[in-house]
């Protein structure tokens, strides 16, 4: 039921996303752009700009929602989010390195490629630090890795060779889907698909974890395997997403909370609806940044943070009321 509502919303938002922007496209032009081979300006806008942007918003938003749900289940903490294990910070550092050394000037693939390497590097570091310990060690390792990555990002800003480079780094870090092409989609898609596939297989173990680690183990769950699945899945899916879009906060945290009142708290039942909710939230936010016009286009990451923080306030107040 809630899945159906979310899917209809997603479809409607997708249509708006293809139409809306600096240049509005009429529905007829959109139709022609999608289904006729005639190359007009409008059809180019639809197929080369709006469509990859829409696909990326859905894929990255879905990834963030799914990953948030998995990590909240793994840590049994409703405040967990996809950046928890350090991979988002790693992806950001990789992209910043590509900008800092001017590699991004040669090819558009440089930023996402370096971002992916950064995400996988951060994953390896988190794994090495948190290996053998419990979920808490993994989360602590993730926090340490995040701190280290952000220190290096700040170092890059500190030593930026030019104001232009510093500005580029700053704007990239704010996160955006503007001017993303099919190249970006093709580069990120395989990692997102494999990563999300791994995350989707954590459902049964996350359910058992509702009873705590000891009971989950007594039910035959291999917790080491579960942690590894969550870490690698997050690194691939969120790493690839962040590499393409920059840092986008709150979608992964909010997505699961949006669906819980409707589908309940059982972790496995939240995964798919949270993914769709994440896609709806990110696509909606991206459309909104294109519709709200005052000065330059608002960066997507800034917008999700502006929308997400009040929700976070509400969550904190609600949790405070629930605790004795």
């Amino acid at each position: 039921m809630v899945g159906g509502v979310l899917l209809v919303t997603l479809a409607a938002l997708s249509v708006v996303s293809l139409l809306a922007g600096r240049v509005w496209v009429s529905p007829a032009e959109m139709w022609d752009g999608l289904f006729s081979s005639q190359a007009t300006l409008a059809s180019l806008i639809v197929t080369e700009l709006r469509l990859p942007r829409t696909v990326l918003a859905i894929a990255v938003g879905g990834t963030l929602g799914l990953c948030g749900a998995v990590l909240q289940g793994l840590t049994r903490n409703p405040l967990a989010e996809p950046g928890l294990l350090g991979v988002s910070a790693g992806a950001s550092l990789g992209a910043v390195i590509a900008i800092y050394f001017g590699i991004s000037a040669y090819t558009t693939a440089a930023i996402p490629a370096f971002g992916l390497v950064g995400a996988l590097g951060a994953m390896a570091l988190t794994f090495a630090l948190g290996r053998g310990g419990g979920t808490l060690s993994l989360v602590l390792a993730g926090a340490a890795v995040t701190g280290f990555m952000f220190a290096l990002i700040q170092l890059a800003l500190n030593l930026a060779p030019s104001l232009q480079a510093a500005y580029e780094i700053m704007t990239w870090l704010m996160g955006s889907l503007a001017d993303r092409s099919w190249d970006h989609v093709l580069l990120a898609a395989p990692f997102i698909v494999i990563g999300c596939g791994m995350l989707a297989f954590t459902g049964r173990a996350l359910d058992a974890l509702s009873l705590g680690e000891t009971q989950a183990e007594s039910l035959g769950i291999d917790l080491q395997r579960l942690r590894l699945l969550a870490l690698i899945g997050t690194a691939m899916a969120v790493g690839a997403g962040t590499s393409v879009t920059g840092t986008i906060g709150f979608i992964g945290q909010v997505g699961p909370h949006v669906v819980r009142p409707c589908v309940g708290y059982q972790p496995s039942r939240i995964l798919l609806p949270a993914a769709i909710a994440g896609a709806v939230l990110l696509l909606g936010a991206d459309v909104a940044t294109r519709l709200i016009r005052f000065g330059p286009e608002m960066r997507l990451g800034v917008f999700t943070a502006l929308l997400g923080t009040p929700f976070f306030f509400w969550l904190v107040v609600r949790l405070r009321k629930m605790s004795p």
Partner: protein, 259 residues
């Protein structure tokens, strides 16, 4: 026929030996109660017997085969384990909580097969939880939660139930109710191993007591023979009056034993 046999177990945690040279055998039809002071090693021994903790030395066999030779899921299908004060960390319904006990038999992906629904309803009825069926498990009373957890443990029809202090925190009615059900379970041919602090109830319901003191099993046998004022003085360090015999033993504590 179901049996668990531990031979010469030694288990250390954090460099400190918790269990030393313990051998223990138990088989179906028994309700075996481990008794001993706090920190004597009851929980550690139960976790090891459940296959959740590998001993440093010694072997534990289930039906003659070492536990280390079983796959995790194979053990989970045959024995259920309840830790002390089992918790539920998300507000899922009682029905869903009980369904989690089926985890070892479910496929890796997908929802709960319809065939299992009837079994869950059966457990809800058997453990008087039908009115709480849709209630969030986190809002249950202590007695209700204890019943729900036992239903969760038994929904997969395991041969062995290992429960760490199943009646701690329960009022007399719920404690008696729980122990009656565990005794019936043993009588129906299952093997039930628990740890328990209430010695009177242990003597009344268990078929056998194993007394554990500082990591060693000091004595093991039928309650009427084992529980003596002498044992209570040496192992539990209390002066007590033990009256009655056979299944009707009563333990009255008088004072801490002079040291």
């Amino acid at each position: 026929m179901t049996e668990i046999a531990a031979s010469d177990l030694t288990i250390s945690r954090g460099g400190r030996p918790i269990i030393r040279n313990v051998s223990l055998h138990a088989q179906n039809g028994e309700l075996l109660a481990l008794i001993g002071a706090n920190g004597a090693g009851k929980s550690t021994l139960l976790a090891a017997l459940a296959g959740l903790l590998a001993p440093d030395v010694g072997t534990i066999r289930m039906d003659g085969r070492p536990l280390s030779g079983y796959r995790r899921v194979e053990i989970a299908r045959r024995r259920a384990y309840l830790p002390q004060n089992p918790r539920c960390e998300w507000p899922i319904s009682v029905e869903r909580l009980i369904a989690l006990g089926l985890t070892p038999t479910l496929p890796a992906f997908g929802g709960l097969p319809a065939a299992f629904e009837a079994r869950i309803v059966e457990m809800l009825a058997q453990w008087d939880l039908l009115p709480q069926r849709d209630q969030a498990a986190t809002t249950l009373s202590g007695g209700e939660l204890a019943r729900a957890m036992l239903a969760r443990a038994l929904v997969g029809d395991p041969d062995i139930l290992i429960a760490d202090e199943p009646i701690t925190g329960l009022d007399p009615k719920h404690a008696l109710d729980t122990l009656t059900r565990l005794r019936d379970l043993a009588r129906s041919g299952k093997l039930v191993i628990i740890s328990i602090h209430d010695l009177t109830l242990a003597a009344r319901y268990a078929t056998r007591l194993a007394v554990i003191d500082r990591g060693r099993i000091v004595t093991d046998g039928p309650p009427g023979k084992i529980l003596t004022a002498d044992l209570l003085r040496t192992v539990f360090e209390v002066e007590a009056c033990v009256s009655g015999s056979g299944g009707g033993v009563t333990v009255d504590y008088i004072a801490p034993a002079p040291t």
